[in-house]
């Protein structure tokens, strides 16, 4: 037996930290939560109130814009129709709203952090182990602090999702910028380009294919996390799976599972098509089939 005396009460300290945060910054958290919730509720309402066919038309338009392929567009539209035919349209729209917000937040936070890592070796030395930890920690663990800070509901679900899903976009932004050809950067500097001109004119455009791949991975991870987050009160498709498990209703679980996969496929295809297009514009420059 390992001697008890050597136990470090880490768990207790973490609890104390969370308690302290709640006591001292409770108001700030609440204000933030309210703001997030307002946006989410508005988006969810919008998606659920919009006629189903209009949602499909919009998704089809995005799919076509991304892929320039009628086949892909048709396939993805059919996937959305299938979700409706499973009787899960409304739940899927709830999940979609959560996912869009979580992914959007991940990208808004992730790209600047990734840029910062590429610029500063110090920040990178701190972030890399942190990101490793974020990704290896079982996703359930994120639910607990989110729960304690924000209680049950959608806001903690989104935050847990952001923590889980942000690492790929952060890592790939960093990687993409670091991979930019050194001579191209030197050329840019030698003409007297400022930091901002180099970042916007050279580094970000050349890192774009990697950043797009990161956004795609982040989207996929946020779909999977949104499902898990239903355990702390995120509604939508995840909830269906959860109640399926609780009631031993295999059929319901399978239906919801299929709907989740279809949703994931739709987003993956769209994301990948955008990724490919950004690659085309950066390597051969010939975008838009020109």
């Amino acid at each position: 037996m390992f001697p008890d005396k050597l136990n470090i009460p880490l768990g207790k300290s973490v609890n104390a930290l969370v308690d302290w945060l709640v006591v001292n910054y409770g108001d700030a958290f609440e204000a933030f939560a309210d703001a997030l919730l307002t946006v989410l509720v508005w988006l969810e309402h919008l998606l659920r109130a919009t006629p189903w066919w209009l949602v499909i038309v919009v998704i089809a338009a995005i799919a076509f814009h991304a892929s320039r392929s009628w086949k892909t567009t048709l396939g993805l539209s059919l996937a959305m129709v299938a979700i409706g035919m499973l009787g899960l349209w409304d739940k899927a729209m709830q999940t979609l709203a959560l996912m869009i917000i979580a992914t959007g937040l991940s990208v808004i936070i992730g790209i600047p952090v990734g840029i910062g890592m590429a610029m500063s070796n110090k920040l990178r030395a701190v972030m890399v182990p942190l990101l490793d930890m974020m990704q290896t920690m079982p996703s359930f663990v994120y639910l607990i602090p989110a729960l304690m800070l924000f209680g049950l509901g959608k806001v903690p679900a989104i935050l847990a999702t952001v923590i889980y899903a942000a690492p790929p976009v952060i890592r790939l932004t960093d990687l993409g910028i670091r991979l930019v050809d050194k001579e191209v950067l030197e050329a840019s500097r030698s003409f007297g380009a400022s930091r901002a001109q180099i970042l916007w004119g050279v580094q970000l455009p050349l890192a774009l294919p990697n950043i797009m791949a990161g956004i795609n991975q982040t989207t996929m991870m946020s779909i999977s996390m949104v499902v898990i987050a239903s355990m702390i009160g995120a509604r939508g498709l995840g909830e269906q799976v959860l109640t399926g498990i609780q009631r031993l209703d295999v059929g319901q679980g399978v239906e919801a599972g299929i709907a989740i996969v279809l949703l994931a496929v739709v987003f993956d295809r769209i994301g990948q098509s955008y990724g490919k297009r950004s690659q085309r514009t950066t390597t051969t420059g010939a975008g838009d089939g020109a």
């Binding site: 050809d181 001579e183 191209v184 030197e186 050329a187 840019s188 500097r189 030698s190 003409f191 007297g192 380009a193 400022s194 001109q197 004119g201 050279v202 455009p205 050349l206 514009t281 950066t282 390597t283 051969t284 420059g285 010939a286």
Partner: protein
């Protein structure tokens, strides 16, 4: 004072350069310093003066510090010690905005692997320097078009770099560097990645442009023939230290040491040596010895390879004349043969 003055530059690569710098300043050599401190000496006590309008070539083996040296001139690399003056101004004391303004106004650079922006078209690449200067769009595209034409790429404005051959890409690189109308052109092995014929074309092109533009060109190469063809003066670097600086024929005729001699061994001397370097100067200038009458006259700047056929036809001797057709010296067949055989 020359236009560009490089004074006692040292560059030590590594996190704690001070100790290695002291050792380098005490004259210890690069390998010892690396073994004792783990720091690489990039440049060791380099001082150079470069005049406005000259083509100054820097030569040396791989790793001798050529790229490091040229990158000091636009401060892509900062020295560990020393001074760099442009027209009397110490560029090492410039703040970042001042440095950027200086780079925009005065410097253009051409890179070995071209360094073109892969996501921008030829014309956007050529206009890049002006875009950085926030010149308005119509104007910068107009200048870019002029230079694209000038380097022989008309019709390729909307192509992307990866659709062009190496030689064409480097023409884009050259046009890009010239579009901002810089006083100084920095060229780091600009033609080394090109195959021999294209390379020779580009050298001719550069010489043609230079004869009209009179830029100050710093040209890096590890190829002696290229150095001799382009350079008004040549500097030779070894392990970060300057071994010799001089006009091409000085380097060929009087190599400073074995390292320089090794460089010059295989060179085609008849292409480098000129009449004025070899001639026996006429001692008093105005009274020409009578026995030179009937000798053919050659220009002082004529190369040996062109003089050779004349010398063979006239075994007695040749008169060397300056631009005003005054006789300034004589050449004998034996002198020519001795110079070629040395």
């Amino acid at each position: 004072m020359s236009y560009i003055e490089i004074k006692n530059i040292y560059k030590i690569f590594g996190p704690h350069p001070q100790k290695a710098l002291t050792m380098a300043q005490n004259g210890e050599n690069k390998d010892d310093i690396l073994a004792k401190t783990g720091h690489t000496v990039g440049l060791q006590n380099v001082s150079l003066s470069i005049d406005q309008g000259e083509t100054f070539v820097v030569m040396g083996l791989s790793g001798s510090g050529k790229s490091t040296l040229i990158r000091h001139l636009n401060r892509l690399i900062d020295p560990t010690a020393g001074e760099i003056l442009f027209g009397g101004e110490n560029i090492l004391q410039m703040t970042t905005p001042r440095l950027n303004a200086f780079r925009r106004a005065k410097l253009g650079m051409v890179f070995q692997r071209f360094g073109l922006l892969p996501h921008r078209s030829v014309i956007e690449n050529v206009a890049y320097g002006l875009k950085i200067q926030k010149t308005d769009k119509a104007e910068r595209l107009k200048s870019a078009r002029t230079w694209i034409e000038r380097v022989g790429l008309a019709g390729y404005e909307d192509s992307f770099p990866d659709q062009l051959s190496g030689g064409m890409q480097q023409r884009v690189g050259l046009a890009r560097a010239l579009t901002t109308n810089p006083e100084v052109l920095l060229m780091d092995e600009a033609f080394s990645a090109l195959d021999p014929l294209i390379r020779s074309d580009m050298q001719d092109e550069l010489m043609k442009l230079q004869s009209e533009l009179h830029k100050t060109i710093i040209f890096i190469t590890h190829d002696l023939d290229e150095a001799l063809k382009l350079g008004d003066r040549i500097a030779i670097l070894k392990d970060g230290a300057l071994m010799q600086v001089g006009r091409p024929e000085e380097i060929i005729m009087n190599p400073a040491d074995d390292y320089v001699r090794a460089f010059t061994r295989d060179v085609n001397r008849s292409r480098v040596l000129r009449a004025k370097t070899l001639m026996q100067p006429t001692s008093t200038g105005n009274d020409t010895p009578a026995n030179t009458t009937g000798w053919p006259e050659v220009d002082a700047n004529m190369r040996l390879e062109d003089i050779l056929p004349i010398a063979i036809a006239c075994p007695d001797g040749i008169s060397v004349v300056n631009r005003d057709h005054q006789k300034i010296g004589t050449l004998s067949k034996d002198q020519i043969i001795a110079a070629l055989a040395a």
